[in-house]
Amino acid sequence: MNSSLWTVMAFTIRNKIRSKAFIIMTIILAVLLVVAGNLPYLIDKLGGGDKATKVGYAEGQQPQIVQGLKDYYGQLPKPDVKLVSIAGSEEQLKGALEKGDIGGYLTFAEDKETGFPKATYNAKSAFSGGTSSSLTAALQKIKTDRIIKDAGMTEEQKKQLSTPVSLDTQKVSFSNEKGKSEEEQGMAIGLTYAMIILLFMGVMISGQLIATEITAEKNSRVMEILVTSVSPLKQMWGKILGTFIVAMLQIVILIGALVINLMMPQNADSLAKFGIDLSTIDATLVVYAIFFYLAGFFLYATLFAAVGSIVSRTEDLGQAVLPITMLTLVGFYIAMFGLTHPDHILIQVCQYIPFFSPFLMFLRIGLSEPAWWEIALSLVILLASILGIGWLSAKIYRVGVLMYGKRPSMKEIVKAMKAYKV
């Protein structure tokens, strides 16, 4: 009867949602995501912009270059470096740095070979990345300008030289659908990336939870009463579906928190600056994302349930689920590789392997143009595997829950299946 399936589901959901671990975990993750969602805005507020680093130089040293630097930063709308002249030698500069008057200072040494002095940026920390790269760019410009001036080029020629090369990447579409613009492509990569991580985390966390709960039920011997009250199949699926709904709820809360924050007006500008536009997300991609998420979840959840059922003690569980954990890890890393090489032969082969296809087929749909039969074949194999593995897992579960003692071997499980006539 379906009512008992529902009872198991409701029980699983109720206990999960009420548990402190779940509540705390969700709140922490939500807070983290809210912070992450506001990160572009925060970077804008806190970062460079208004706060230029004061860079000191010894008065009178390399006046030409210093003037060049001043001109360069003077042209910028938001200069990130402000040059400060300090009277005296390097000792005074050092003193100013120590007092915190300046963020760093420049010293120059003659370099006969290149004819351009060697500059050193002295700062309290060797990792003053932003400032030193900004200075490098500025010095490069000054050097170029100087050489150009020596070569006697016209202003026109100078302008031509400084115009950057233009290279646009356009993805060619062979099917009838419209090709993706660069923005859409960027969003697709972002969505694919997010989806792969979500799937990986969803599978790992929920799978471990399912396995742990089943083992705990066995360990505490509640199982003996449960199996006499409700059929193992319903019990297993009730647990998997219950955990699934909880996981969904958690994801909805988290994504909701993130999206609401991204929609906030103060974030809209920052997002636009980073080229993120939520409206360019392809709807079909979202449908595929949901489908592959579901498929991947249930494929792995049944496996975890089967493994959980054959282990009697929670201490032994970690070792027993290791092979499945490895499978998800392999899938995850192949997918990470595939983000940059979506048409690599490895991806093209692995997209048919059911344990990897939830990661990879989605990736290919998002980033490449797989033929319709590739998608269909992968889907058929995946669905068939879910049914097959679900069926096998239910069988293992049926005998596993009653086997106590040491972890049974494959042979013992098969023997037990025959004995129990399942």
Binding site: M1, T7, V8, F11, R221, I225, L226, A419
Partner: protein, 301 residues
């Protein structure tokens, strides 16, 4: 008609036989004792009765019907190794288990409250199981087995780990259930409980039923071999009475004699009376404990 009828069930695990041709019947309002040493096949038998595993041969009938979903609902089971969800409230898990057996939430709640009142622990309704003492967990476990008013109840070591007061409490409850018409299969190593509660028993040994029938009949089959005699003073020369095989003196006065035949009792009584007044004299019937050890022990060789 018997509530539970087990007919020549056989179960093999690979080449090992776990239960070999066991038959028994439990009628309405009867407690049936299933005895046996560890590993004799009791648990396998109970699992077959519960429908967890199917017998290779033979069949089990519940109120005349074969095993099915409806039958599952009228079974109650108290497993030997106790198990509850430690971190979940008593009410939540008992109601969950009752619902799984087809009870409505409301009925389950009412029943649980009634049972907690009966065991004088109504305050446990909202407690987590891990907060309770072992004995009280056992009470909760017992409630879990009977909450749905099962027609057939299987109790595996129902009283182990309980103090004498709680043993009495549960024993009374089991008797009440029996009087209300529940058929109970009762398995334990405590023979005095079997003697007190069961009408019929099966003693299993190494997968085979070796002794079956009503306790009265079984006892008749075993000779009365013990005589207890006591007086205020000492009784001498008991060893020399014909038919006496051994004499043991009890710590608190009195003698226990092993005899070859019950008739020797009369000679012992006469011998003792000739030395003075007697405060106690009894020809003991064999205890179930002795019968069990004898049956299982003999078969060991």
């Amino acid at each position: 008609m018997s509530s539970l009828k087990v007919n020549r069930i056989i179960k093999n695990y690979g080449d090992k036989t776990a239960v070999n041709g066991l038959s028994f019947e439990v009628s309405e309002g009867e407690i049936y004792g299933l005895l046996g040493a560890n590993g004799a096949g009791k648990t396998t038998t109970m699992r077959m009765v519960l429908g967890l595993i199917l017998p290779d041969e033979g069949d089990i009938r519940y109120l005349g019907k074969p095993y099915g979903q409806e039958q599952l609902r009228m079974l109650g089971y108290l497993p030997e190794e106790r198990g509850m969800y430690p971190k979940i409230k008593v009410s939540d898990q008992i109601i969950y288990l009752a619902q799984l057996r087809g009870m409505s939430r409301k009925d389950a709640e009412q029943n649980l409250k009634r049972w907690l009142e009966k065991f004088q622990v109504p305050e446990y309704y909202n407690k987590k199981v891990e907060e309770l003492s072992k004995g009280n967990q056992q009470k909760i476990q017992f409630i879990a087995a009977v909450i749905h008013n099962p027609k057939i109840l299987i109790l595996d070591e129902a009283f182990s780990g309980l103090d004498p007061v709680n043993v009495e409490l549960l024993k009374t409850t089991v008797k009440e259930l029996r009087d209300a018409g529940t058929s109970i299969v009762f398995s334990t190593h405590r023979m005095e409980h079997v003697e007190e509660l069961c009408r019929n028993i099966t003693i299993m040994h190494k997968s085979n039923p070796v002794l079956q029938g009503s306790i009265k009949d079984i006892k008749k089959k075993f000779p009365q071999e013990r005589v207890v005699v006591a007086s205020d003073g000492d009784i001498t020369g008991l060893e020399s009475v014909a038919g006496v095989n051994g004499v043991f003196r009890h710590e608190h006065g009195g003698y226990e004699l092993k005899v070859s035949a019950p008739e020797a009792g009369q000679r012992i009584l006469q011998h003792a009376l000739s030395q003075g007044p007697i405060t106690r004299f009894e020809i003991m019937e064999p205890t179930l404990n002795e019968i069990f050890i004898k049956t299982v022990g003999e078969n060991h060789e």
